[in-house]
C-alpha cells in the first residue's frame, strides 16, 4: 500500500520540486491502489463490473500513472482484462 503511494509521490521530480510539491498537496488527491485499499486479493476476469472501471472509452488498459494501481495489482489486472477480452466480456477496442 505504502509502496504505491510512495511511487506516485516520487513522480515529477524536477528543479521546481518544492513549489510543485506544495501545489500538489493542495490540489491533487493522492492516488491509492484501489486493490490494496479495498483489500481485493483476487482480480478475476469474470468480474466485469470491477474491470470495466479500468478500461476507459477507447477500451485500452488504464495506465498505472493515472489509476495509481500498484505494480503487482496492475499486472494482475492486465491479465484479468486480457482474459475477459477473449470471452468478449470486454472489448478489444471501441470507438
Amino acid at each position: 500500500m505504502a509502496n504505491g503511494r510512495g511511487r506516485s509521490g516520487g513522480r515529477g521530480r524536477g528543479p521546481s520540486r518544492p513549489e510543485r510539491g506544495g501545489r500538489r498537496s493542495l490540489f491533487r488527491r493522492r492516488k491509492v491502489c484501489k486493490f490494496c485499499a479495498d483489500k481485493i486479493d483476487d482480480i478475476n476476469y469474470k468480474d466485469v463490473k470491477l474491470l470495466s472501471g479500468f478500461v476507459p472509452e477507447r477500451a485500452k488498459v488504464l495506465p498505472r500513472r493515472i489509476s495509481g494501481t500498484c505494480a503487482t495489482h496492475q499486472r494482475k489486472l492486465r491479465r484479468a482484462i486480457m482474459r475477459a477480452r477473449i470471452l468478449a466480456l470486454l472489448p478489444y477496442l471501441a470507438d
Binding site: M1, A2, R5, G6, G9, G10, R17, G21, S25, R30, K39, D41, D42, Y45, K46, R83, R85, I86, L87, A88, L89, L90, P91, Y92
Partner: protein
C-alpha cells in the same frame, strides 16, 4: 501422481442454439471429464449475454462456466473437442488452483498481521462492529514526502 489441478472452463454457445443443444454440449463436456478421470465440481449457466464484440457475426452468446478438477491431458482433450464443436463459438480454460492458493495465503497473512498489530496496541485481535477505520500508515507517507 501429482495432485489434481483445478481448472475453470467458460464457453460461449451461439445465441440461436436451443436449450437441448446447450444441454448436449454440457453432456459432452461431462462425459469427457468422467472418461479421463476428472470430476466436474460446478456448473453455472450465466445465460444470454451481449458480447463486447461480434464473434462470427453473433452479437449475443450463451455463457456456461464449468469448474473441473483433473489432469492437464484431460483439459487438452476438452480443448480439442470444444474447438471442433460448431455451437461453441468461443471458449477459455484457465487453471485456478495455484492462484486460489496465493489468494488464501495473502488473506491469511494479512489477518495474522492485523491481529498481531491490534494485540500490540492492546485491542482485541478481531475488529469490533462500528469501529472507525484507521489509516495509520497515511501519516508516514506524508512526512516522507515533506522531507524530499
Amino acid at each position: 501422481m501429482s495432485a489434481p489441478r483445478t481448472y475453470e472452463l467458460v464457453y460461449i454457445i451461439a445465441p440461436d442454439a436451443t436449450d437441448e443443444q446447450v444441454e448436449a454440449v454440457h453432456q459432452q463436456v461431462e462425459s469427457t471429464v468422467q472418461r479421463l478421470g476428472g470430476t466436474l465440481e460446478k456448473t453455472d449457466n450465466w445465460g444470454r449475454r451481449k458480447l463486447a464484440y461480434e464473434i462470427n457475426h453473433h452479437k449475443e452468446g450463451i455463457y456456461v462456466l464449468e469448474v473441473i478438477s483433473g489432469s492437464g491431458e484431460l483439459m487438452k482433450e476438452l480443448d480439442r473437442r470444444l474447438k471442433v464443436m460448431d455451437e461453441v463459438i468461443r471458449h477459455l480454460i484457465v487453471r485456478i488452483d495455484e492462484e486460489q492458493r496465493v489468494v488464501e495465503r495473502t488473506r491469511a497473512r494479512r489477518q495474522e498481521t492485523q491481529a498481531r498489530r491490534r494485540v500490540a496496541r492492546g485491542l482485541p485481535p478481531e475488529p469490533q462492529e462500528g469501529e472507525p477505520r484507521r489509516d495509520g500508515d497515511e501519516e508516514g507517507a506524508e512526512s516522507a514526502e515533506a522531507e524530499a
